[in-house]
Amino acid sequence: MSLRIKKANIGVLFFILIGIVPFAAAFIYALLYSFGVTGVANDGFTLKFWETVIASGSFFKSLGFSVLIALVAVVISVGGALWITLKFKEQLESRFFSFIIYLPLAIPGIVTGFFTFQLFSKGGFLARISHKLGFITEASQFPDLVNDGLAFGIILSFIALIMPFFILLFLNVYKNERVEELSILAQSLGASANQIAKKIFLPILIKKTWVLIVLYFIFLLGAYEVPLILGQESPQMLSVLIIQEIKQYDLDKISEGYVVAVLYTIIVSVTAIALFLPKRKTAYAN
């Protein structure tokens, strides 16, 4: 018996080594750097980088911007995916569709960003077609859809990236949770299609997947490639801001980048604790 416990502990030790130590090391390093303790250009403990970042407000602007973008993208994607699942579940079962709907999974963020740029920029494919059709005569007349203030390009890319995933997810939950059978039962008891959607379909699907929905929100919050290609110079999404600050010209200000990195890590970790610590059923979290 004692041998078995020891063996199990070796596994846990490995888990700590690979899963936890790097994270802790990265966090502690960033923390030390943000207080000026490490770093070639720094000369000792100081609060000035924290003060500068808090005072300048660019972090909060960037955080608000990122939250807003991620929220809009997640809401639209989940809404769209629910609608498609509700309306098209039978058709999507067919042989052809069941392959087609997997295809978007083969496209990573970097390609989605590149493609969105090629399509929607002022010199892009849609602008060319508009020009051909006579809607515009100059490239500059085409609406501002990438690197734009409303982050249209970023949101569109995010939706293209995650909506297919949610459709697949909902279709699976629909099947596994026997929503179909429940719906038929409700129908035979006299419920309308609307009632079935509101009282059975939506609650079951959302309840079974909300943890994943929040997880995807967090992923989008930290997204890098898409906003790097499609974002504008200010405000920027968090990851882009952090990397830009850490890799900037002014060597004396690198620590400010680590301040933002620490703040971001804390926010994400607190969210994780809030999500996973309470005893909730998280059957679909993985």
């Binding site: 030790l13 010199g123 734009d148 504008q232 110079e233 002014d250 690198i254």
Partner: protein, 407 residues
Amino acid sequence: MNRIRNILFGFLIGLSLLGCGEKSKQDDEQLKSATWQEIEKKSEGKTVNFMMWQGSTAINDYINNYVVPTVKEKYDIDLQISGGQGPEIVQLVMGEKQADIDEGQVDMVWINGETFFQLRKVDGLWGSFVEKLPNSKFIDFDNPFINTDFQQPVNGMEAPWSINQFAIVYDSQKTSSPPKSIPEFEIFIKENPGTFTISNDFTGMTFLKSLMAEIGGSPNALDGNFDENKYQELSAKLWAFINESKQYFWKEGSTFPKEQSKMNQLFANGELLLTYGFREGSIEDKVLSGFYPKSTKGYAWENGTIRNTNYLGILHNAPQKAATMQVINFLLSPEAQLKKSDVDGMNSNTVLDMSELPPDWSMKFLDAKKREFGPSIRELELNAITEPAPEYMIRLYEDFRKHVIEN
């Protein structure tokens, strides 16, 4: 939980102790007094890592398809290219210093003045090596554009590679008289709103330096050491001017392209009427490749645009210093420099002095095909200004973001 924390800290400390082994630097010091034959002998069969800006197809083509195979064939050196410029190089050097890495990731770097400044600030460069190179005899070190980089004496710490002048680019079919001064520029952007922008990179900042010199009243306004008061005064005027004008910029100045290449793309699409860049020679290659229209022309600002030299440096912890010198020496050879100035290729001006070259080589340079579209560096010569001190550039970066982009 406590136990986990203990293990964690133990491991962290263990990590930071790793790789602290000292390695003697004697070998490198000996290299400084070695003869060229000894250096050549040491460089055979080695691998040299070269970190450079990879933002141009023509440059990448020159390096990948000419330099890499040639040094392999001639000296049996494997030249490995990795992408990175200014801040990336400095960050790498700083990171390696912090981690006490004696054998760095990169041997050779392609840099210009502000990186030179920062690398010297953190003692990131190896030392004076240029006069050791046999081909350095073809270079005129009395030329102020070569012996001084951003107002700093070079002292053989970096080898000149190319000399370029900043040029403004326009399509002569769309624009008959492009602006050559700030007053003309103000009229131009009001007449053509949305057709001008400033890239938030080295190129854009260089344009801002030219404007600042003009605001200062003369091509030499920024010469000399960095002057805080002068910077404060001139930059305040510059930001006021930019912020007043930016409503006429691309996207009403609400954002700026991250890279020069993006600005060039906007110019190629016809969204912008003006673009600009350091390599006046790159106009040619963009016209020849069909990227720019044939009516494209380049010119210099009346008050002058910046002319500078870019350099090749050896990092202090370069593992293969001898082989790196061999590669740099090759890049300075008449053969490699001639190929580099090929108007159908990289099209970058040589740093070699024609009067120092053997006659057959100088003839080859003179006989080489001339540019058809881009201006020659000689045409721009009258309006050349020297690079201001590096601090101007570093401050402009910071303040452009603070006062313009985030404003």
